[in-house]
């Protein structure tokens, strides 16, 4: 039960391009390791936390200093390798010492729950010495894992979906359940792993967790062949998708990124907690223009997202609303398996009940989404084109018979965006601006996912406000992984919505696509990098347009 097993797991996962293979490898790993190591493995592989103990730059400097190795040579090597943790791992091969590898039996748990946190207690000099010590006492095969954990760059081709599948196979329980169990905060412990693999499904255990979200796919042509009456039409709001949960009287508000945001929206939590019923609602949080009954721009919502315990005046200045799309659970009864049209009836029934309570008027903070009833598909198109007028992004089209499963299930929910030339991308490089913007990082490069890798697809300079530029500049300086000349590579963390005019195949770009006039249209602080689009999404977009 040692780090050895985890290193081997890493190598195996890394050297497989087949999903089935990876699932098999993971399953076998879980079978042959301690619950505690398994829970750490899940924690690392799902990127639940990529805490950075030291930066890549620090790591290289440290190696240079310890082994009197020229920094320029390390930097030259970096250009070839592209990852500080790996460069140092490769260079350490030359520094094999005759010392006994006392750490060859260290477990993943020991490393992550003891050795790593202990590092943080040391002053710089002690810390450096301790890292050197670990390098020398740790067998060479584990150096990469250790260095990657150190620099917070642990990423391997494994998604939460793969973990979910492999555990589901391991214990023969439906993926939905496992994915539900993995929602929310995952704290590595024996308990959390045993909870995950528990063969008895106990609803109450999941009480603190939101349901896995069901996501809409980009519209497909084949939908137009169906009768319009088979679908429910909603506006596609541009806010933050959330689940509003009240169970045993406690209200919790979860974002799609699985963050608990009760503290940012206390007025909503307060209001909803007075309702008699328990429920799980799927919906959207928006800053709402009550006079005109439309959403304010997303940028106003950003004023609320990261602000915990907002003052009364902030609450008044940026009034929020939760618009419920769907009712998933009511008074302890999970109704995700019944048809959407029936869930809608329930949703309307309870909404009118809640609304009519005079002592607790919820209408200033909560409503259910209005439905749209287009006569035919061309009419639906007209609605879509009008969506800008009420500050929505288009339509969401849902099959009336759809049950609420999880993930981006094909063929049941679609998004029909007014401006389809948009992708959510991850900021990966920044370059200093010139002229008016000199001294600030204002030229940005953005990437999309390809499997588990981020591939650069566009550069953009415009679209952010001056305040946002300053804020981002500050973040860039704090989150630089490497500097090459004027360019900084950044910790993949920030997601932006990029709009463009044209998208086409390009052999010159690694991504294989080129976009025209890319610009930033939104800083998606509500999104995690895993929510960013993939190259595949870009290709689909291209197909649709041509």
């Amino acid at each position: 039960m040692s780090l050895k097993k985890f290193s081997e797991l890493f190598v195996d996962l890394d050297s497989s391009n087949s999903t089935n293979n990876k699932i098999e490898v993971l399953k076998n790993y879980f079978l042959s390791n301690d619950p505690i190591d398994n829970s750490w493995a899940i924690y690392l592989l799902t990127g639940k936390s990529n805490k950075r103990f030291i930066s890549g730059r620090y790591l290289k400097n440290l190696f240079s200093q310890i082994y009197e190795y020229p920094l320029w040579l390390i930097d030259t090597c970096y250009l070839k390798v592209g990852d500080s943790a790996e460069v140092i791992t490769l260079l350490l091969k030359n520094k094999s010492t005759s010392r006994k590898k006392e750490l060859s039996n260290i477990s993943l748990n020991q490393l992550l729950s003891k050795t790593m946190p202990d590092l943080l207690k040391l002053n710089e000099e002690e810390k450096n010495l301790q890292i050197k010590n670990i390098w020398e006492r740790l067998p060479q095969d584990y150096h990469l894992i250790f260095n990657k954990i150190l620099t917070g760059t642990f990423r391997v081709g494994v998604s939460i979906g793969l973990i979910t599948k492999s555990i589901s196979k391991l214990i023969n329980i439906d993926e939905e359940i496992i994915s539900h169990r993995l929602m929310g905060n995952f704290k590595p412990s024996i308990d959390s792993y045993e909870f995950l693999i528990n063969k008895n499904i106990n609803r109450e255990e999941l009480n603190s967790k939101p349901f896995p979200f069901l996501l809409a796919n980009t519209i497909e042509d084949k939908i137009f062949k169906n009768s319009i009456n088979d679908f429910q039409f909603e506006w596609k709001y541009d806010g933050i998708r959330m689940q509003l949960i009240k169970r045993s009287g406690n209200v919790s508000l979860w974002t799609r990124g699985q963050e608990l945001v009760n503290e940012s929206f206390p007025e909503l939590v307060e209001k909803m907690s007075h309702l008699k019923d328990d429920f799980v609602l799927d919906g959207e949080l928006l800053v709402w223009n009550f006079k005109e009954q439309i959403a304010f721009d997303f940028s106003l919502l950003q004023k609320r997202i990261n602000r915990k315990s907002p003052t009364r005046s902030i609450q008044i200045k940026y009034p929020i609303i939760f618009i419920a799309y769907d009712l998933l659970e009511i008074n302890g009864r999970d109704i995700r398996e019944i048809k959407l049209e029936d869930r809608r009836i329930e949703l309307e029934k309870y909404f009118s009940k809640w609304q009519n309570k005079t002592e607790n008027n919820i209408s200033d903070i909560f409503k259910i989404c209005d439905l749209i009833f287009p006569k035919d598909w061309p009419d639906a198109l007209t609605y879509k084109e009008k969506s800008r007028e009420n500050n929505t992004e288009g339509l969401i089209i849902k099959k009336k018979t759809s049950v609420y499963s999880s993930g981006r299930k094909k063929g049941i929910w679609w998004k029909y965006k007014v401006d389809p030339m948009q992708l959510d991308a991850v900021l990966i490089y920044a370059k200093g601006g010139s002229g008016r913007r000199a001294g600030l990082y204002t030229d940005y490069s953005f990437a999309l996912w390809k499997d588990e890798e981020l591939i650069k697809f566009a550069s953009a300079y415009s679209g952010l406000t001056n305040i946002e530029i300053k804020e981002l500049d500050k973040w860039i300086r704090k989150n630089t992984i490497e500097k090459f000349g004027p360019v900084r590579s950044l910790k993949p963390e920030m997601v932006f919505e990029i709009s463009f005019e044209k998208i086409q195949i390009s052999k010159r770009h690694k991504s294989g696509i080129a976009v025209r006039f890319p610009r930033i249209t939104k800083w998606r602080k509500d999104k995690k990098i895993n929510d960013a689009d993939s190259l595949e999404n870009a290709y689909e977009l291209m197909k649709k347009i041509s």
Binding site: D14, S15, S16, N17, S18, P70, W72, L73, T76, C77, K80, V81, G82, D83, E86, V87, L90, L91, K93, N94, E453
Partner: protein, 328 residues
């Protein structure tokens, strides 16, 4: 210091050339007289009037260029004279027949390393240390991130890779001359005892090696396989040129790997498109290059075949060795 026109060996049209002897080393275009360090395609060309090489290289060369070429052979260490220059071949440890070439003229010694490695390889003569004044060395892997593991370890990794997935057919891509034979030799000493198949181009080279007394395990020519099912659990050696395109459709349930020094870098491994990479090389790693430079006692060093910037800076700063550049 002399000007470059006065060097015994110089760069001309992108090739190494000794004007005094009017002889080229591994030329990439047809010339009158060509010294050939070894029989890899990027080290010789068709159509030279006369080739000079070791005996083993000559046999391999004839296989590749044709029997009718004019070729003169010498034993390792045997000196011959052209225009008053003493020339000799010395083992470079790269592949069978590969050599370093030494030039001695008026008590000045020059050494062309050819492609070389210091690692043990039972399929060719071990690299011989040759002292020199001027050294022209390859530097394909001229960065310290390149540090080869023992080839026994790599062979065991390959063996495990195959035996851990007995339901699959394992395709290992490697250069058909040299690397393939070295791998065969190493793999036959591991726990993997299943069938090994070779592509025709590799099979042919295996036979030549065997004819020259090298111990190479028998393999089955892949072109002779009868049923696709017999390939399950076995190893197939293929040249890298077949890794892309429709050739792979000849197999089912495969896993692929590439054996090359470049595979020590994760990004290159990922980009290569193979499932797995085995970092084994017939070139010297960083330490190997430094060792050659130091032990050869050369006062002046030239690099070619690779990116030499870091290596040059390192030698000049750390070892105070004079690194020179040919005019381009």
């Amino acid at each position: 210091m002399r000007t470059e026109q006065e060097y015994l060996i110089n760069y001309k049209d992108g090739n190494l050339y000794c004007e005094l002897a009017d002889i080229w080393i591994d030329p990439s275009k047809p010339v009158k007289k060509a010294l050939i360090t070894h029989a890899h395609f990027d080290h010789f060309t068709f159509g030279c009037e006369e080739y000079i090489s070791t005996k083993e290289t000559a046999i391999l060369l004839k296989e590749r260029v044709g029997d009718n070429i004019k070729i003169k052979t010498f034993e390792y260490g045997e000196e011959f004279k052209i225009n008053g220059i003493n020339i000799s071949f010395h083992p470079s440890g790269h592949i069978l027949g590969s050599s370093q070439i030494r030039f001695v003229f008026a008590e000045e010694k020059w050494l062309i390393s050819g492609d070389f490695k210091l690692q043990k390889d039972q399929t060719c003569k071990e690299y011989e240390l040759v002292k020199t004044d001027y050294l022209i060395s390859e530097c394909t892997f001229g960065l310290p991130i390149f540090k080869w593991d023992n080839s026994k370890k790599i062979a065991n990794d390959i063996s495990k890779w195959i035996t851990n997935t007995p339901e699959k057919t394992s395709l290992l891509f490697c250069y058909s001359l040299g690397k393939a034979q070295r791998l065969l030799n190493e793999i036959s000493q591991t726990n993997f005892k299943g069938n090994i198949y070779s592509h025709g181009s590799i099979y042919k080279m295996n036979n030549i090696y065997r004819g020259l007394g090298i111990d190479i395990k028998d393999t089955i020519k892949i072109e002779n396989k009868k049923k696709i099912d017999e390939l399950k659990g076995s190893l197939i050696l293929l040249p890298p040129s077949l890794s892309k395109g429709s050739y792979l459709k000849n197999f089912k349930n495969i896993q692929t790997a590439f054996a090359s020094g470049w595979m020590s870098i994760r990004a290159l491994r990922k980009r290569s498109g193979y499932d797995k990479g085995f970092a084994i090389s017939d070139h010297a790693d960083w330490d190997g290059i430094l060792e050659l430079v130091k032990k050869s006692e050369a006062k002046n060093v030239f690099f070619h075949h690779g990116d030499s910037e870091a290596l040059t800076k390192y030698l000049v700063e750390k070892e105070s060795i004079n690194v020179l550049f040919f005019g381009k």
